[in-house]
Amino acid sequence: MLTSQLFIQELRDRGFDFFAGVPCSLLSGLISTIENIPDVKYYPGVREDACVGLCAGAYMGGKLPVLMMQNSGLGYCLNAFTSLNLIYKIPVLVIMSWRGFGGKDAPEHIIMGDINEQLLETSQMKYAELTSDNYETVLQEALNTIQNEKLPYTLLVKKGLFDERH
C-alpha cells in the first residue's frame, strides 16, 4: 500500500501544484489529503471533461495540473483528450481509478474495467498502472511525457493501492 500523504508529497516534489477532479472511493484518501494541505487547492469538478478543460487552462496559465477521476468518466473525456489535449499539446497528469478490474466489482463498472486500457491505447493516451513498487519510475515517465512531449499521462490505480477514507 502507498499512503496518500506520501504520494501527494511525491507529486508536489515534482512540481505538480494544481489539483482537480471528480471523486472515486479508491481515491478518497488522496483527495482528503490535498483538501487538508493549506497552501494547495483542490477544485471539485462537476464532470470529468470539465476538469480536463480546467486543467488545460491551468497548465496554459503556468501550473502543473493533476486530474483525479474514476474510469467511469473516461468516456466523457475522450472528446476532450482527442480534440483538445492531444492536438494542442496540452499535458495533464490523470490519476484514474480502475474500477471493475478483473470483473470483480458492481455491474456498472465491469465493462469499463475491461476496456479502459484499450480505450486509452486507441486514443493514443499514454498510461501505466501505478503500484507501491513502481511509483518513482512511472512518475518519472509521466513527467518526461508531460514536459518533453507535452502530452497527457494516465496512472491507473487499482483498489487497495491507497488508504481509502470512505
Partner: protein
Amino acid sequence: MNGTDVFNEILAHLKDEPVVHANGFIGRESFNVKDRKASFYMIGSMGLASSIGLGVALSQPDKKVIVMDGDGNVLMAMGTLAMIAAAAPKNLVHVVIDNEVYESTGKQRSLSSEVALEEVARATGYPRVAKVSTRDELNDAFKKFMNSEGPSFLLVKAKPEFDHGTGRVTHTPEEITDRFMEAVNR
C-alpha cells in the same frame, strides 16, 4: 448585432488580456476581426471554453481573463457555471454570444430561446450578470465588468448572420497553445 459586430466592440477594449474562445464560428469571427497572441482559439472540445478560461483565471489571478462563449457551448456544459461560481475568480469575465442556434452546423435551434442563460448564471452564484442586445449596452456592460470584481456573466443576444467569407484560423493548434502560453505567462 451579429458575431463579428460583437468582436468589433469587445476587442477594441482589450490590450493583452487572455481570451479563450469557444469552437464554431466564434473563434473564426474573432480571428478575422483581430488576431491576438493572447487569444486561444478552441476548435474542438465543445463546451470546454468556460472550464479552460476558469483554469487560466485561477492560475493568473492578476490578469483579467475573458471567455468568449456561445449558447450551445454553455448549454452543453451548464455544470461548469457552477464550477465558476464556486471557485469565484474575481478576474473572470464570461461573455456568451447567444444567437439561439447552432450556427456552424446549419442554424439548428438551441434551447436558449426558451431558457434564460443569464438567469441560470445568476442562480449558480455569479455576482454580476447582465443581458444586452445593442452595441451601446454591450460596451457599457463590458467596460463595467472589466473594471469590477467578478466572476461576471454577460449574455449578448446576437443575430445568426455569419459571413461565410470569414476564413478559418490559420494557426495550427500547437501554435495557438505556444503563443497563448507565451502571452499569458509573460
